[in-house]
């Protein structure tokens, strides 16, 4: 029973409502998305905010699908969390990343976080033209999209696992109160 209480306490303290751990395939992703789409209506959340949550979730899940295979020596696995506190909805993804790639990802997020709404719009246009299909997340379009949709900074943490890999957590925050668009 200890395992139950351990997880219960973290979820309670951090206002987390859903955790999924494991492999993400298209079917699971679809089901998780439809859960959010259908269920948040029951919470009395405005449709504008719901749309935002849904869009950000799509980006985050896409990100997970791409990067769950990062650790070549293990089964594909990633973590997905949804939180709901008084002011925000939070969407968190976690996956393994090669240490050599941390700096690239970090600088992409930092860059996006430093931009204004207008700058982000411009940057999105330019990046979209530059990116190619084979270039997996090359321009960091996902980050730009998340930043534009949430209007908030993307929060991240890279925590070391081995000399080769780290665990990359990324949090997107959607305010319940303001509708920027």
């Amino acid at each position: 029973m200890n395992a139950f209480y351990e997880l219960y306490n973290v979820m309670n303290g951090k206002h987390i409502i859903m955790i999924y751990e494991g492999e993400f395939n298209q079917e699971i992703t679809k089901t998780v998305l439809s859960m959010t789409e259908n269920s948040f209506g029951d919470f009395g959340i405005e449709s504008g905010i719901r749309k935002k949550i849904f869009n950000v979730m799509v980006e985050v899940l896409q990100n997970i699908c791409k990067h769950q295979y990062n650790n070549h020596s293990a089964e594909p696995s990633a973590l997905f969390l949804v939180g709901d506190n008084e002011t925000d909805f939070i969407i968190v993804s976690g996956n393994i990343i090669e240490n050599s790639k941390i700096e690239i990802v970090k600088s992409k997020i930092d860059k996006v976080n430093s931009m204004s709404k207008i700058e982000l719009k411009e940057f999105y246009k330019v990046s979209r033209l530059e990116s190619t299909l084979s270039d997996v997340g090359g321009a960091g379009l996902g980050f730009i999209d998340i930043a534009r949709k949430t209007g908030e900074k993307i929060e991240y943490e890279f925590s070391p696992v081995t000399s080769e890999y780290s665990f990359f957590s990324q949090l997107a925050r959607i305010s319940k109160n303001d509708l920027n668009d």
Binding site: I19, Y20, L79
Partner: protein, 183 residues
Amino acid sequence: MSISNSDLSYVVSIKKIMEQHNFMFCYKGKFTHQITKSILNITERKLVTENVEVSIKKKVFNVMVDCLQTICNKNLNDQYNRSSLIMIGKVNTDYIIYSGNIISNDDAISLQDKLTHINLMSKDDLRKMHYNSLSTLDLEKLGETGIGLVEIAKKSGNKLEFNFLTINEEHSYFVLRTLINKA
């Protein structure tokens, strides 16, 4: 040393707990009809992904339905409703389902009796307890929750593990742990 712009160390903690105990999915919050349906969908998808045998899949799914029904049966205030939780995990090849919810202390006493009673029954006794063959007396004694628990015990084939944690003078937190063996 972690590199971060925000303290997300709890995400790593969650990852560790999930991995250590082989949890796959957890939901904590209000259980509406839609949410219950979605949770079942995710579980089903997950079991399909893992290529689980049909009979086990059915058992896990059915126990999950009964657990969700037990949770949904409680009419509580919003804050208490948000404490309800369902988790599904694996121990080696067996599946494990935890459900937790707040109940009144009066219900806790009668629930404990029911659980003890069910755990004393043999598999044969349980099997004989079909819904249709239950007498009015049995029905009264077991109530809706009790019938759900009998079903869970029947399907899991294991003793029900449970825990009551007193919250205050009026309420307790009830956790049920159901193990479903692969064979």
